[in-house]
């Protein structure tokens, strides 16, 4: 029952009864939050995450494109094929880098084929391989349309063979 004559005293007693035990409770240990937390940081993190997602998507698209072009999912193959195409195009003085990549298997086959033909070509192939940073075993490309025209790799010695 409320004592209206001593209402303020009544408030004090009631609050002491209800809140007093809570005030005597144990205090959890203070753990300082990381500096810079907050809305701005959250926005910054979101922006960075967004950029990373975009970059990954771009990288994914590039990788997908490279895989489609070279017919291989192994990134070391992409580098090998690109280097081989660049060399062969430079040697033959021709254009058509993309076509060369698409027929990467053909280029390799040409090189393999020429390697059996002459020891010079073989040494040239070795030289090519020596210039590549990450040699990897040959992976048979998927069967696709062959590009006609002159051979993309000349059988002569490559730049790696010069001493």
């Amino acid at each position: 029952m409320i004592d209206w004559r001593d209402f303020e005293g009544q408030i004090k007693r009631e609050l002491k009864g209800v809140l007093g035990p809570i005030e005597l409770g144990s205090i959890p240990a203070w753990r300082a939050p990381a500096r810079g937390r907050g809305a701005r940081t959250a926005l910054g993190v979101k922006a960075v995450t967004g950029l990373a997602v975009v970059a990954l998507a771009g990288a994914g698209a590039t990788a997908a494109g490279a895989a489609a072009l070279t017919g291989s999912t192994n990134p070391s193959d992409w580098g090998q094929q690109a280097a081989a195409c660049r060399q062969s195009l430079r040697a033959s003085g021709m254009n058509g880098f993309t076509s060369c990549l698409q027929s990467g298997g053909g280029a390799r086959q040409t090189r393999t084929h020429t390697a059996t033909q002459s020891p010079t070509a073989h040494s040239g192939g070795q030289g090519d391989r020596d210039t590549r940073p990450t040699p990897s075993p040959f992976i048979a490309p998927p069967v696709g349309p062959t590009v006609g025209g002159p051979p993309l790799i000349s059988p002569g010695p490559g730049p790696g063979t010069s001493h």
Binding site: M1, I2, W4, F7, E8, Q10, I11, K12, E14, L15, K16, G17, V18, L19, I22, E23, L24, G25, I27, P28, W30, A32, P33, R35, R37, G38
Partner: protein, 191 residues
């Protein structure tokens, strides 16, 4: 009050930890008074201490640190209350047409009339009552804690008390009315 403004150096980790230890339970109690729920009060207090920690290097020391902390915590509690009310509205809308579950008998047994009435006050009025009658704050300290001018504090307290009386008076008037009716019925001659 647990501190004097000379005792704390803005930005000092050591002093902030000391303020935390000194003020934690006192501010928690204020938030329980405002929110009427210990778990919610603890959540709000945690957020409040994190905000305070971020603002600690900029604390000017022109007001007691505990009152400053109270201000941050009360603002957190007000935000929490707004969010809870919105959530309650959502629940009520979702519950329309369904029977309301009966209240838990345990909760009724632990009821405190005045404390329950406190929960029906606006957050800043409830906080003013707890700060004055439980913590024994001065008007100036309450002004800092509530972010209102000092002259407003007295009128805020008068308004809070009047509202408490009204809320409690309603219940008591109703009970009184029932008692009067019962007495009147007893006195009716049975002829």
């Amino acid at each position: 009050m647990a501190d004097s403004r000379q005792e704390f150096r803005p930005g000092s980790e050591e002093d902030f930890e000391r303020l935390y230890r000194l003020a934690y339970n006192r501010v928690l109690v204020t938030l329980v008074g405002v929110l009427g729920d210990l778990a919610a009060a603890e959540d709000c207090l945690q957020d409040a201490f994190e905000s305070a920690y971020r603002g600690w290097p900029k604390w000017r020391g022109d007001a007691p640190a505990e009152a400053w902390l109270h201000r941050i915590a009360i603002n957190e509690a007000i935000s929490y209350q707004r969010y809870s009310r919105l959530r309650e509205v959502g629940k009520v809308i979702a519950r329309i047409g369904r029977p309301v579950p009966p209240p838990d008998p345990g909760t009724i047994a632990e009821r405190h009339d005045l404390f329950d009435a406190l929960r029906k006050l606006p957050a800043r009025q409830a906080a003013a009552i707890v700060l004055r009658y439980h913590h024994g704050y001065t008007n100036r300290e309450i002004a800092t804690a509530l972010g209102i001018p000092e002259p407003t504090v007295a009128s805020r307290l008068v308004a809070a008390r009047a509202r408490l009386r009204l809320v409690l008076g309603d219940d008591h008037l109703r009970r009184g009315h029932v008692e009067m009716v019962t007495l009147a019925e007893d006195r009716v001659p049975s002829d």
